[in-house]
């Protein structure tokens, strides 16, 4: 064969084909940054003596978790805590088999909503622990969302460490200053700002719409602007997902795509790492994130986050929270839940040590102050506020006031973020939003489908 088939004329094809095959391998270098930043979603744990394992999806920067553990270790030197960071996208996949098989971690994180529903049977009742740590009136000392959202059938499944709120945008102030733009307050201004950014080759607004969660935040904010409170009513079953306000919100959602606000290809973006990296590398001027993004106003937090996003010599920029634009006729209210609570696995062999760590982080002034100063979560204990004197900000003049105002404003939040939504309903919201964005369904048709899916998922409507 070798000596008889004369195919020399075809040899250039072999070279070309080989080059095509080699192209993706060459692209691997750039993708490395994305992989590194993929570890951008989790937190940690502890114990009396011995070693305990803590699994979580937050703090997304493992350095913060290890710092917390180091602080705890100073007080409890006989307890070793090992933190395992698991991305939120893989959380259920990793935790579920571990808990079912009896090989789960001593401490695992719990979030109001679907996780509490799914994993409550594996958690001990934390109410006695809280009572022991804070006294009989313990409920009055912590944020209400940290109790109601983490309670299932009367059992407190986890001790809340902190809360998160969403419903605001974060902007790169340098980019706005560079093009002499003001942050958008209306949909038309949002569109016009984006036109200016894109005309200069800059990205405007970036969001990961491939999975539920963050896309949901944007939809909830739009709905809050169209008809305040409607989203929460639909979540509770006192209004239908197919009501006119939701249809109008989906119409505005579609406009974000057709008017050039949403970046091209956003349906293929993950919020973490894609959108987060794009914003932190300065490619986009705006992103939809919640209060957990406060960690990026600190010099250490922003530097670490930029490095994780692939920036070699990071020069922290000024990130600021702004109100969600009035896209539907009303100011859009914030909403939030307990970010995460620490649950103790009921099959743990070292429950006493696990309780020590949970009490230290969730109820002690020292632990909660540490949480507050990281500006990742708002501390669960009501008596604790961030000590800005001990926090180094990227741009204190611009950021401290904005962050203090944000912290003050969340005190009046009444709407939950995810705690009322089951996994099925969240999946149905994702489907509705993607079908409208891709043009495969009208806002009305998508809302009708969403309503049917919610009914099929067991949501009761009045």
């Amino acid at each position: 064969m070798r000596h008889h088939v004369r195919l020399r004329r075809l040899r250039p094809l072999a070279l070309l084909a080989s080059a095509c095959i080699a192209l993706p391998m060459a692209a691997q270098v750039n993708a490395g940054a994305s992989v590194k930043a993929g570890a951008a979603h989790a937190r940690r744990a502890s114990s009396a003596s011995g070693t305990i394992n803590w699994w979580g999806w937050t703090p997304t920067d493992s350095t913060l978790a290890n710092d917390e553990i180091a602080q705890f270790h100073k007080v409890y030197p006989h307890i070793t805590v090992k933190f395992k960071l698991i991305t939120i996208a893989n959380w259920v996949t990793a935790l579920r088999p571990a808990l079912v098989s009896g090989a789960g971690p001593d401490i695992f994180e719990m979030q109001p909503g679907a996780y509490v529903t799914e994993f409550n049977s594996f958690a001990t009742n934390m109410a006695p622990v809280m009572k022991q740590a804070l006294g009989a009136n313990w409920q009055s000392k912590i944020a209400p969302s940290g109790v109601s959202g983490l309670t299932y059938n009367g059992k407190l499944t986890a001790a809340s460490v902190g809360s998160v709120y969403a419903g605001m945008l974060w902007i790169n102030q340098q980019l706005f200053a560079k093009y002499k733009l003001t942050p958008p307050k209306t949909l038309s201004q949002w569109v016009s700002d984006c036109k200016v950014f894109t005309s200069h080759g800059e990205g405007c607004f970036v969001q990961g719409n491939a999975t539920e969660g963050f896309l949901q935040d944007t939809l909830q904010s739009i709905t809050n602007s169209v008809q305040p409170g409607l989203w929460t009513e639909a979540s509770k079953g006192t209004a239908k997902w197919s009501s006119p306000g939701i249809v109008k919100a989906l119409t505005v959602w579609k406009q974000l795509f057709s008017n050039g606000v949403m970046q091209a290809g956003s349906l293929g973006y993950q919020q973490y790492p894609d959108a987060n990296n794009a914003f932190l590398t300065g490619k986009y001027a705006m992103i939809m994130m919640g209060t957990w993004y406060m960690q990026n106003v600190t010099t250490a937090g922003m530097t670490s986050a930029m490095q994780a996003a692939g920036v070699t010599n990071p020069k922290p920029f000024t990130a600021l929270p702004i109100a969600f634009p009035n896209v539907g006729g009303h100011p859009s209210a914030l909403y939030g839940d307990a970010d995460y609570g620490l649950a103790i696995y009921n099959r743990s062999k070292n429950i006493a040590a696990a309780e020590d760590f949970v009490k230290w982080l969730a109820t002690s002034s020292e632990g909660q102050q540490y949480v507050a100063n990281q500006l990742d979560d708002l501390p669960s204990l009501r008596s604790i506020d961030p000590n800005f004197g001990a926090i180094q900000l990227v741009n204190r003049a611009a950021q401290q006031g904005a962050i203090q105002n944000l912290i003050k404003s969340v005190g009046s939040v009444t709407q939950p973020r995810e705690s009322l939504l089951s996994a099925d309903v969240q999946n149905a919201i994702l489907t509705a939003a993607q079908s409208v964005a891709s043009g495969s369904a009208s806002p009305q048709a998508a809302a009708d489908t969403l309503q049917k899916a919610a009914v099929a998922a067991g949501e009761k409507f009045k």
Binding site: C20, A210, G268
Partner: protein
């Protein structure tokens, strides 16, 4: 077509004419009356000679694989979240729901399209590479390594690479822009119209090397005398490939079709890691749908029913392909 004689194969077992299927010589087995395939031990005692040898695999298969299949079949009649100790028996309810589930039919359609496109292109490229590298090509060894390397790279490692490459600001669009084809720039995995083709392109990139290796081995088995005779009769490259090479590698093509079909039915890692089966379910396959139902949404019973249907589809296609092959061999 020239008359060709055997002799090129040292084992002397190959058919002599193009288009005929190569058959290995039959192994000799002592006959035991009344017991096909069994041998006699002591007089009057019949012992199945292969049983001890296949017992470990038999126990493993029956005890593990077939038990799991049976258990999955049982679960498929439940409405169950995978944790609750009291699953609800729903009979054929899950199957009935699947029949009316548009996402299921979408996943089946994606699987069929995926198989048709990837198998066709991989077969073409694999055979082309094999033929090219059987001719005198400098640095052929390097080309072989380059072509085969994607096969050994784990999809989990390559997925972020392709997410980067196919992103709106990725390398593919950069290359298109650089060569003056900016009009073709697309958010490849961020829109429903191009996401599935992108997934198919990744699969073709990854598995063409495997196709190439099998065809390369198959080409080595073709008797040189056949090619020589064709050349003497004036056959050109194209005629040699279509009339001699292609019929002689039919067995390999069949094997690749079977493997490709099974692979298509099992497709999970690339669409899940690159596009999360989206956008808007544009890259949803049976594998990703089962994963979503069982792991993400806790619909273990429904997912088990989907798994059983997947198994049935795989068996049906396997039987059809085997019958097609047997009929073709008989003719």
């Amino acid at each position: 077509m020239p008359q060709v004689a055997t002799g090129g194969n040292p084992k002397g077992a190959q058919t002599s004419s193009p288009g005929r299927r190569w058959r290995p010589a039959r192994a000799w087995h002592p006959k035991v009356p009344g017991v096909p395939g069994a041998t006699s031990g002591r007089r009057g005692v019949k012992i199945a000679s292969g049983i001890p040898w296949i017992m470990p695999a038999l126990v493993l298969c029956v005890g593990l694989v077939y038990y799991c299949i049976g258990y999955t079949g049982l679960i498929s009649t439940w409405s169950w979240d995978g944790i609750s100790p009291n699953p609800e028996h729903v009979g054929a309810g899950n199957y009935s729901a699947i029949v009316h589930d548009p996402l299921f039919w979408g996943a089946v359609w994606h699987t069929l399209i995926f198989f048709a496109v990837t198998f066709t292109i991989q077969t073409f490229l694999g055979l082309l590479f094999a033929v090219l590298l059987h001719s005198k090509v400098k640095l052929a060894g390097i080309y072989k390594v380059v072509i085969f390397t994607p096969v050994v790279l784990a999809p989990a490692i390559m997925a972020p690479v392709f997410r980067e490459m196919f992103s709106p600001t990725g390398q593919l669009n950069s290359v298109l822009h650089a060569i003056g084809l900016g009009v073709l720039e697309q958010p490849w995995i961020g829109q429903t119209s191009t996401a599935l083709p992108a997934i198919m392109a990744i699969t073709i990139w990854e598995f063409t090397g495997f196709t190439f290796v099998l065809y390369y081995a198959a080409l080595s088995q073709i008797d040189n005398a056949i090619i020589e005779a064709a050349r003497l009769d004036g056959a050109g490259n194209l005629r040699v490939i279509t009339r001699i090479v292609w019929p002689n590698v039919a067995g390999t093509t069949f094997a690749l079709a079977t493997l490709g079909l099974i692979g298509a039915l099992k497709t999970f890692d690339i669409p899940w890691l690159v596009t999360s089966a989206g956008p808007d379910y544009a890259t949803n396959f049976l594998g990703t749908y089962i994963y979503q139902q069982i792991i993400q949404l806790d619909h273990v019973g429904y997912g088990a029913a989907l798994s059983v249907i997947l198994l049935v589809i795989a068996v049906i296609f396997g039987v059809v392909l085997q019958l097609w092959r047997n009929r073709r061999a008989d003719h």
